[in-house]
Amino acid sequence: MFEYAVAAVERALAAGATYADARVVVSKQESIDVQNQAVQSLDRTEQAGVGVRALIGSSWGFFATADLSRRAAIVAGERAAEIARASAAVPGDRMQFTDVAVVQASYETPYIEDPFTVPLSEKVDLLIGVTKTMQEVKGVAIATGNLTFYDTNKWFVSSQGHRIHQHLVESGGGIDATALGESESQRRSYPQSFGQYETGGYEVIRKWDFAANAGRIAEEAAALLTADEMEEQETDLILEGSQLALQIHESVGHAIELDRILGWEAAFAGTSHLQLPKLGTFKFGSELMNITADATLPGALGTFGYDDEGTEAQSVEIVKDGTWVGVLSGRDSAAMAGLPPGGMVRGDGYNRLPMVRMTNIGILPGDSSLEEIIADTKSGVYMSTNRSWSIDDKRLNFQFGTEIAWEVKDGKLGRMLKNPTYTGIGPVFWASLDRLAGGDEWIHWGTPNCGKGQPMQVAHTGHSAAPGRFKNVRVGVRG
């Protein structure tokens, strides 16, 4: 496959590009959805094509084709340069491009069990079984289960001499139960609201043991119908790990994207409240807040060998002891900011322009545990599993809803509460973090649906997190 990428790059250079790269991507996906013991859909998707990037002056030109032939690759290289030249009608400053090591390398996701060779009957039977278990709980009207697997081969070639082949394998899925009342619906899901996704094979599915948790979440969904509504108040908030992971994703992960900080995403995704002159001094949170962007974590969803610009995967400090010290960057954005490139540029398939994306943005573990945190809380609430998320275009003002909560009184869990929400301002909220769990409660949560860019791209990102406590948070906001 390298030959097609080479042909595209050579043609783009001949057409005037000062730099060019190309990715041949061949991918397949299998997705199974079961609802109430019936298969809703069994979809298999295959995609193959080549995408070429050409840099001329201040702008990238990008062209992609699903025709995997030498002739089509050459045309794609020509078209990428033509598109870059058209950008000169509205030029900016010449785009800089930081050097990285030029490598010829390969990388493969470590996995035990190829998910595409596990019999379909085994996967379908698993989902039918767990939906049956959930349906047996009185009050549960809808029980669903999903499994999705990805297998991606990428061949990357740059005009600077990169030749990189990667084979990435990702697996994930989840289950959920919905109970319906007269004028409300209540949902509980496992392992988290969109399922849990990791790099790896079918062993990921076996590890999370859906069957052992189906009955519990179904009982909780049904119980929520008669639970008390959370009252609006300011109180101590304990977040379960997957909700803390999403909090990191939305209020830290997107805020530290250098393309947002530079204004490149201003119209759609937005910008960031973070300003580069404050890098190294801005107080983002409490001393317990230590965030890294680590694309090398074994098993985490945002793990790979090289990004889509040929930069090797690395771990970068983002927040150290509460102070903002790092960003997510690529070769062009890093050059503009005068920073080393972070190897965080990825494209969604062969037909999307690679852009700055989160890798594994996680908080390093603390020395406590959920049990200790609850025991140490006189009055507060414990919220689990995301239900809704909303944040402003500068990544400051957020409001999250979770599926379930419990009152915490005198160190013990009390009443179950429904329709929990909490709201706050990012750095104020993070400054209130005063307890953080660790040990085996520190999990590499995976987010398989991070949207960004135009045309829209979906990225798979990881967020390591453990339960944590935040002081004096506004909860229970509803219309």
Binding site: G92, V124, W264, T423
Partner: protein, 443 residues
Amino acid sequence: MSREIHLTEQILDLVGERAEAEVLASTGNLALTRFANSFIHQNVAEEGEAVSLRVAVDGRIASSKTTATAPDSLAAFVEAALETAAMQPVDEDWAGVAAPAALPAIEHADDATYDASPDTRANLVKEFIETGTGMLAAGYCQTEGQSVAFANSAGQAASGRNTSAIIDGIHQTGTSAGSGHAASVAIGDLDGAAVGVIAAQRAADSVAPFDAKPGEYEVILAPEAVGTLAVFLGFYGFNGKMLSEGQSFVVLGSQQFDDRFQMWDDVTDPRAMGIPFDTEGTPKGRLELVADGVTRGVAHNRKTAKKTGVASTGNNIPGSEGWGPVPTNVFVGGGDRSVDELIADVERGIYVSTFNYCRILDPKTMVVTGLTRNGTFMIENGRITDAVTNMRFTQSFVDALGEGKILGLGGDARFADSEFAAGIMYVPTMHLASWNFTGGAEG
């Protein structure tokens, strides 16, 4: 014979008598010129073709999609789909493939848009940027052209072409931003300067915003904000699957909205975009969703229609199996008032240019939270007096449109989009009696 029709026939031949089958083949292009900091920084295009196949082997269903369309690849693709289906349990709700039926004679396509060059898009971008003197512009200009063919084993065959062109952007000062948006089937209809002027005016008018107190306000919602309401109503409410599962707010035949509220889905409207059949080959027509405030219908595909005992409305989209069928050519009825006249009726309220990052808290009550963006203004005694900082709201969209809540409708209906899907909502400015703002965006 077009390439797409050839592909559908090729695949049906490969399936033969072994299964019920439906095939969707498409060829086309998508190009998007993106700008930020007042220059074009990303500029992309793609061409390709793709084939989707759904087979039913004795009621056992499997779906597959591929971009590999060489003859040998297609043969392997078909065999894999048949093998996969044969391993499945029987789907008791399978409604079979669509019977042959005539299509509406309408095509929403424009050759100049299908063949639009990067230079054409760059010129529109330049027009937009030049309207914001001293401001930073960001946004995009997109063109898309698609040719689609459908065929199934029952003899239904359909084909069509569609195009779309969009320019969308913001102008920014150091303290504010304003947005503009336009979409059409034909790129020749777009005026980059006209869209840019609106964005620049909103940005200039909001350079010194203040923090308004949270609470209930009358609102004037610009078309982008009304588009957000329509998207949520359509996707979570007027959805045949969600209704049959008890997750929708919809009560058919009930007065759930103000009697001024009209909403319908109609690809046959000359102003619409898209093709006149869905991914199951069912012809699309006009579907009444709300008439004079009474909820009249929901979107169906073949499966939800069978379950409900009605006919499919032709609203199947990719992913419908899990999410359900939804309307994608939505119109909200307008009035005859100008925006200035609507504002003149407000004693104290908020003008909202766009909503941002809206997410549902409960589909059954349609409570949504989100923020305002790109131009939010205080209205006092019938005129805009000040800009206000972005605000967060938590509001039931059904309650907001309830009986007695629509106080005025603009005569300015157009395609509008703020964050979800351009080209599917054609809506006017709206004056509503009450909207619940819960706080300022920056605390």
